[in-house]
């Protein structure tokens, strides 16, 4: 009796899991007004998460960081604004302004490596170039 119950439950659970596998979670891409999609590739998102996202997101307590850039809202911006923000990222990283010295003193492990910095700048630069076309 008990075994039958366990089997029924297992089958039921498996069936649900099976069905759920068909509902692929929607990727978060928001179309710009022109209809093109702006997406942050996962390797770039990883770099953002490591060194930038903490201060540059919608829910941060860092007011200044939030006002300058919200990484999670980039896709909502107009093309022109987006180009400006991408160029701002290139500039801030190139000039070593970001991440800020004070932040790195506290979290030295979050410093961008040379490769990461280059990857991030290349991506931002190319994305801005693409948008200008």
């Amino acid at each position: 009796m008990k075994n039958a119950r366990i089997i029924t439950l297992s089958v039921f659970t498996l069936a649900i899991a099976f069905l759920m596998s068909f509902t692929i979670p929607e990727k978060e891409t928001i179309a710009t007004p022109e209809g093109d999609k702006f997406e942050i590739p996962s390797d770039i998102q990883d770099i953002f998460d490591k060194s930038c996202f903490g201060c540059h997101n919608t829910d941060t307590k860092n007011d200044k960081g939030k006002k300058k850039l919200m990484i999670d809202k980039l896709a909502n911006l107009s093309k022109a604004k987006l180009v400006g923000k991408l160029d701002g990222i290139v500039e801030a990283v190139k000039e070593n302004e970001m991440p800020p010295e004070k932040f790195l003193e506290k979290f030295p492990e979050n410093k961008l490596t040379k490769e990461e910095a280059k990857k991030l700048m290349d991506w931002a630069n190319n994305s801005a170039e693409e948008l200008m076309k």
Binding site: K67, G84, D87
Partner: protein, 154 residues
């Protein structure tokens, strides 16, 4: 007044006179300003007035030097602010910028003005007209955003 105080004041006065002879490095206005940003971009009068009253004293070659900009040590600070300001953005050189750079600058202008970082606090102390009202701020930000969109489409 005690003798010591008199001597100290005299020394300070002497120093004040001496520093007047140190060059302040004050940047000059370039009178052959071929790039009239306001005329070239059909900037509406209200915004043009804001630009001239609140931005151009550091971000153009059309600086109106106030009287205190001739007196050291204040002149040193004024010179630095103008030099740094122009380095970031010089409306008199606007037409020399690439399309992409223009769009970036307008984005920055819009951000800095909307969060109140520009005009600088120290500038507003001596230029009350640069204390923008909420309405002026919005007007300015909208103008910058629209111009960026327009340049993007061109």
């Amino acid at each position: 007044m005690s003798k010591e105080l008199k001597i100290i004041l005299l020394i300070l006065l002497g120093l004040f006179v001496v520093v007047q002879f140190i060059p302040s490095g004050m940047p000059e206005n370039n009178s052959t300003n071929n790039f009239n940003f306001i005329a070239n971009n059909n900037v509406p009068t209200d915004v043009a007035n804001l630009l001239k009253s609140s931005c151009y004293d550091c971000h153009s070659q059309e600086v109106k030097f106030p009287w205190y900009s001739y007196i050291a040590p204040i002149s040193w600070q004024v010179a630095t602010d103008i030099n740094v300001g122009r380095e970031h953005l010089d409306f008199s050189n606007w037409e020399e910028l690439s399309k992409r750079k223009k769009i970036k600058m307008l984005g920055e202008i819009s951000d800095e003005v909307s969060i109140g970082e520009m005009p600088m606090r120290i500038y507003k102390i001596m230029h009350s007209e640069a204390n923008l009202s909420e309405e002026q701020r919005n007007q300015f930000v909208n103008w910058a955003d629209n111009l960026a969109e327009k340049i993007m489409e061109d």
